[in-house]
């Protein structure tokens, strides 16, 4: 049963990673703790279920939700964060929390406060190894997440825009002076990270068969702990920390029955990492 727990943990970790990598990307570029990212994720899940129930095509639902949330993320950055950049970091942080609760309330008013079920099977093959079954939804989550990681890796290391993005994240002033349109890069990174968050929302909806207005509350703060563990602003660090946490949560609590609240584990890990390596596992020094 341990292997099954690990496989489930890997799926949970993958969804954490899809949320946390966007947060790390945004932090790397603007230095903002984007709590409202989890609001985008929740909105993405609702748009996904809405379009799926209208059209019956889950891939169309995923893409439409990603595009809409991408623009939503850019709008948040343009109209709220960008004018607040010159203030101390808690100012954009509070604005972000206000956006997050606002989004929760708005969805609660539009879609109703109750949990909605979302039952569908992704068109992926079911895998059977030695009597163990990996359901098609689990396979779908693995394949889609792996695809996103690959595309993101390819984009950021093999294309010129990706290079510009990494340069902006290291030093925005120098990057702009070398002719990089930093406003465009900021927009693009918000678009990408919000679209991936929306995808995570749809996948979580499929995985747990439910969506609810409060579904963003736990990821909102857990993802913050994850990007600290990974090293603030480090996207690979955030991904590795997320996968590790997903597995640790299911194995420690589901398998070993450690008497700890599941959602506090991320913060305990974070405090341990901060004491031992304050820049995070993969953070830059200084």
């Amino acid at each position: 049963m341990l292997i099954e727990q690990i496989l489930n943990g890997l799926a949970t970790g993958s969804t954490y990673a899809l949320i946390a990598l966007g947060l790390a990307l945004v932090y790397g570029i603007l230095g903002i703790l984007h709590v409202a990212h989890a609001g985008v994720y929740m909105v993405g899940a609702y748009i996904g279920i809405g379009i799926y129930s209208l059209t019956g095509n889950i891939f169309l639902a995923m893409i439409a939700s990603m595009v809409f949330c991408g623009f939503l993320g850019v709008a948040i950055e343009r109209y709220i964060y960008f004018p607040l950049l010159k203030f101390p970091p808690y100012v954009p942080l509070i604005s972000s929390i206000a956006i997050f609760t606002g989004m929760e309330e708005l969805i609660r008013l539009i879609a109703g406060p109750t949990v909605q079920t979302y039952s569908l099977t992704l068109p992926f093959p079911t895998l059977k190894i030695k009597g163990m079954v990996i359901s098609s939804n689990l396979m779908g989550i693995y394949i889609i997440t792996a695809l996103v990681f690959f595309l993101l890796w390819y984009f950021s290391t093999q294309t010129e825009t990706g290079l510009a993005m990494r340069a902006t994240s290291q030093d925005m002033a120098v990057a702009s002076s070398l002719g990089i349109n930093s406003q465009r890069i900021i927009d693009l990174s918000f678009f990408i990270s919000s679209a991936i968050a929306a995808l995570a929302g749809v996948l979580v909806g499929i995985y747990y068969n439910t969506v609810s207005p409060g579904m963003g509350a736990v990821p909102a703060y857990k993802a913050l702990a994850l990007i600290v563990v990974g090293g603030l602003g480090s996207v690979p660090g955030a991904v590795i920390a997320s996968l590790a946490l997903g597995i640790a949560e299911t194995v420690l609590i589901g398998f070993a029955h450690v008497p700890l609240p599941r959602d506090a584990l991320a913060f305990i890990a974070m405090i341990v990492v901060l004491m031992w390596k304050p820049q995070g596992l993969f953070g830059r020094k200084g």
């Binding site: 970091p89 309330e105 959602d263 305990i268």
Partner: protein, 292 residues
């Protein structure tokens, strides 16, 4: 009328806690998003001391302050090593962990919380309604005076120097850790007093009363009023505390309106209503020039 008094009691309790946060965030410049944890520690220790140990409110109060201060030191020592965003996330973590401890350890009553907390007795009369409000206002006044006293003392000035430029201040011989910790502990002790008042007003407390959202609310009181100003936290608590009550006729739209207003205020008045460049101050300073 009793409804208005109840709302006023809660606003003054939250204002007391916000003044504690003002010392940490406003004067010492150390962001804390876990202040509700210490508010909760105060409330839980007051509840346990009065219900299980049989102490009176007045007997329990010094112990409550001591407990909040000691836990403040224990949490402050490791977390004040990190700065800015790291500190913000660490304090969020402290809040979640403290809430989880209240929720998971049966001694603290679990999800059901602690009940049967007696009323405060003063000279043989049970304080309720207007009398309890008077007690809360007295404590509030005391806390405002402590803020004023702190800002004018050497340690307050040292904290403000650290907030403005830590490198410069420490090269002048100000120990960053020591003064940050002093500010942190004063803040947590004041939060503990607020917690004790809260427990005796509610008679019943549960872990969710001291969750992360409460920390956000407290920080937004301080930031919107004007951090590090004497009247900012009170103004913030008055506006943001009475807003949800005034908006009660809007029923379901209440919280949406609240977040929209919070967003608008932070977006267009990020330094607070009484901070630098505020439109309120610019109106007043036209009238009483040179008094700022």
């Amino acid at each position: 009328m009793s409804y208005v008094i109840t709302v006023a009691i809660f606003i003054s309790i939250y204002a007391i806690v916000a003044y504690g946060l003002n010392i940490i965030v406003g004067y010492a410049g150390q962001i804390s998003l876990g202040h509700a944890a210490f508010f909760g520690i105060g409330a839980y220790s007051a509840a346990l001391l009065t219900t299980k140990a049989g102490l009176t409110f007045w007997g329990a109060l010094p112990i409550v302050i001591l407990i909040s201060a000691i836990i403040g030191i224990l949490c402050g020592l490791p977390s004040l090593r990190v700065k800015n965003d790291f500190l913000a996330i660490t304090t969020i973590g402290i809040n979640f962990i403290v809430e989880a401890i209240f929720l998971y350890i049966p001694f603290f009553g679990g999800a059901l919380g602690l009940g049967g907390i007696p009323r405060v007795v003063f000279w043989g009369t049970k304080l309720k309604g207007g009398n309890y409000l008077a007690l809360c206002l007295c404590v509030l006044l005391l806390v405002v005076l402590i803020n004023r006293w702190f800002a004018k003392r050497w340690m307050g000035l040292a904290c403000i120097a650290l907030r403005e430029d830590e490198t410069a201040a420490s090269s002048m011989g100000i120990s960053p850790m020591r003064f940050k910790l002093i500010a942190f502990v004063m803040g947590t002790a004041i939060a503990g007093v607020g917690g004790a008042l809260y427990a005796h007003q509610m008679h019943f407390i549960a872990p969710s009363d001291f969750g992360f959202t409460v920390s956000v609310m407290l920080l937004s009181f301080v930031v919107l009023g004007g951090m590090g100003t004497l009247w900012g936290p009170l103004l913030g608590a008055l506006i943001l505390g009475s807003l949800p009550e005034l908006a009660r006729p809007l029923a379901n739209y209440r919280m949406l309106l609240y977040s929209a207003l919070l967003l608008l205020m932070i977006r267009f008045q990020p330094q607070g209503l009484l901070g630098k460049n505020s439109f309120l101050l610019s109106i007043f300073s036209r009238k009483e020039r040179g008094n700022g």
